[in-house]
Symmetry: C2
Subunit: 159 residues, 2 copies
């Protein structure tokens, strides 16, 4: 995997290649009931994420994916081409909100935008970038907004 | 699962039972290399989360769990008794940071504290609560801080 990353590094973006307002779009991913309940069984075993009948009686009004599942799918979409950062996507933290839940049958995609670029003062080989990633379903409804600070390498001087 | 939640509802906390500064502790969970690489393969397929050798050469200096894996384990620990909220743990969003990565062999636990309580003005049956959850490893190092806003039901008047 390290080699694969290095092989395609020429089209991956360093800090120097990014500009504020730059936008990226991921591919899409369908989320079915089985994926929702499987993630929930592992990491968020609550009735409204596990059981369609119990979920009807909950405040979700039907089966809803764990917000952490939506976050994990968003990461997968960004890693698989949605956010082509050299050195990978290394998050330090950020803000997260889930305006609507992900539902069975949803087809998700991520649209990301660079909102801040800060070269490091102490480390000339890197900097941080704040990226706002909106995860949307097939009806263009936003299911997650993640505004995350990423560690991004600068282009090596030799290149 | 719905019945299990209802059966134990008498010891679960409603908005009216919470106070600022109230603290909760979860059980512990060991995280091994297989769990780290399995989560990464599914949701965050990057060399430093997948391959111990590639990870040595990365800025992590060794295999590190995806931050989203740490977040998902934190949720599981909170759902399994770490945060006994009536009606379940329903997050609207919040802030997340990963001061250190989770490593193979780490034993994680979560300490949570209520930092804000806001009864809804429009919906007398609910409110929101901000909870700060620190996820710590066996050396007491903080691997994640999550400050999340949760939807919490009020105690029904009939009770």
């Amino acid at each position: 995997m390290a080699d694969a990353t290095m092989d395609s590094a020429s089209r991956l973006l360093h800090l120097d290649d990014l500009r504020i307002g730059q936008r990226f779009a991921s591919s899409t991913e369908a989320v079915d009931e089985r994926a929702i309940t499987e993630f929930a069984r592992q990491f968020d075993p609550q009735p409204f994420h596990l059981d369609p009948e119990a979920a009807k009686l909950s405040l979700f009004g039907g089966l809803a994916a764990s917000g952490w599942h939506t976050a994990a799918i968003t990461m997968r979409l960004n890693v698989r081409g949605g956010l082509p950062i050299a050195g990978g996507i290394v998050g330090l933290g950020g803000e997260l909100s889930w305006p609507k839940p992900t539902r069975p049958g949803d087809v998700l995609r991520v649209e990301s935008e660079v909102v801040e670029i800060s070269p490091s003062r102490s480390r000339p080989d890197r900097g941080t970038v704040i990226v706002r990633s909106e995860t949307r379903n097939q009806r263009d409804q936003v299911v997650q907004i993640a505004t995350m600070k990423l560690l991004v390498p600068r282009r090596p001087p030799a290149e």
